[in-house]
């Protein structure tokens, strides 16, 4: 399935696990392509929301990077939101990272 990340997290040497997902469903890059700087610039110029790349480790790294730069407001809201949930600390942490990723994304859209 690959990891869906925002184009701003693309780095050279990453390999596309699936086609670039554009908002209108167009397919722009072949699967398995290793990204060079020029490809990254092209993808960013397409203004797509997500790119699918290979590697679960990329997914978690990107979630952590997203959380580092998220606004304090989003971080406070997500902390509070879990008050009534009873997952393990690790599960809670992972869900929070996922929540921060999309809350940050939606904040840029509104």
């Amino acid at each position: 399935m690959g990891s869906r990340i925002a184009p701003r997290w693309l780095e050279e040497g990453m390999r596309l696990a699936a086609d670039v997902v554009t908002d209108d469903g167009a397919v722009m890059f072949p699967k398995g392509k290793e990204l060079a700087r020029e490809d990254i610039e092209n993808i960013r110029a397409m203004d797509v929301s997500w790119v699918v790349v290979e590697g679960d480790d990329i997914f978690f790294n990107v979630l952590k990077k997203e959380a580092e730069i998220a606004s304090d407001e989003i971080k406070r809201a997500i902390e509070k939101a879990f008050k009534y949930c009873s997952f393990s600390p690790k599960e809670t942490e992972q869900f929070k990272l996922l929540g921060i990723k999309y809350r940050s994304f939606l904040a840029t859209k509104s």
């Binding site: 949930c85 599960e91 869900f95 996922l98």
Partner: protein
């Protein structure tokens, strides 16, 4: 699997909720849709007696949700293009929305935020159903859209009580459901359940509305659908889309995730699938507003 509702709750319900009656044509249509041998043509004939209903159904079937490039102009045409089952889902949606049009009875609940949340649950339910390769993917959008409709029923038709629930939720900063239980003695899922049963809506829809906060105790035949909507509700609140009445994520047993074979990366994929459809679903908000 209908929840067995104790007599004292039913009695209290009658005091709290002034259940809206559906327009005659709608009742007739819903009753016909429950009959196994009814023909699509017969249903279309009855629907055509109510032009407001016809118009609302056509707006739904012409929305970006169905994504047909050519405009559908008649119920008969919709039948041919959509098929009976998908048209049924559109009719049920139009029926429920009919009860909340205009909003004159609203007492301060954030209705726009509510519908945005509901649409979010709808698109994520649909994405989950598609991922799980279920045959009735579109119906899951409707299940998600209507899962919390008990809140709206209380807001419009039980306002004497909801006027106390909403300030309590704010004052104590607790989940809306907790405030409902404290003031009324039962929550919006019971309200939705009783009203949907009175309206003779389909059993799968009733079970989703009734059990989405209690999946782990549900043992009926629509477990996947109930689980899907519960997870979609969880994820929609996780990403902060719309407003479900409070800012908390509802507790959900982790077995529900494993029952649907969902890990974090799959949920990430599902959310991105869901929100990629969000813009095209927003014309549902216009339809809802009438």
């Amino acid at each position: 699997m209908a929840r067995t509702i104790p007599v004292h709750i039913k009695q209290k319900f009658e005091q709290v909720v002034n259940v809206p009656t559906l327009p005659k044509v709608l009742s007739k249509v819903i009753s016909m849709l429950g009959e196994p041998r009814v023909s699509a043509r017969e249903v279309a004939k009855v629907i055509s007696q109510d032009q407001a209903l016809v118009s609302r159904i056509l707006r739904i079937v012409n929305s970006a949700f169905y994504g047909f490039p050519r405009q559908i102009k008649t119920i008969d045409h919709a039948l041919v293009i959509l098929g009976f089952n998908r048209l049924k889902a559109a009719i049920f949606t139009a029926s429920v929305l009919e009860v909340f049009k205009n909003g004159q009875n609203n007492i301060g609940f954030d209705v726009n935020g509510f519908w945005e949340h509901s649409i979010g649950v709808g698109v994520i339910s649909k994405a989950l159903a598609k991922h799980l390769r279920l045959p009735n993917v579109e119906e899951h959008f409707i299940f998600g859209l209507l899962h919390d409709v008990g809140k709206l029923i209380l807001d419009y038709y039980g306002k004497e009580f909801y006027e106390k629930v909403l300030p309590l939720q704010k004052e104590k900063d607790i989940p809306l459901r907790e405030a409902e239980l404290e003031i009324i003695g039962f929550d919006h899922s019971i309200v939705g359940s009783i009203v949907f049963e009175k309206w003779n809506l389909p059993y799968d829809m009733i079970d989703v509305v009734t059990w989405h906060h209690d999946v782990i105790n549900y043992n009926g035949k629509f477990l996947q659908s109930v689980g899907i909507v519960a997870v979609a509700d969880f994820l929609t609140r996780l990403i902060g889309l719309g407003f479900g009445g409070d800012n908390f994520i509802p507790p959900l047993h982790k077995n529900v995730f494993s029952m649907l074979n969902l890990d974090l990366m799959t949920m990430d994929y599902i959310i991105s699938e869901g929100i990629s459809q969000l813009d095209s679903m927003r014309d549902f908000l216009d339809i809802i507003r009438g």
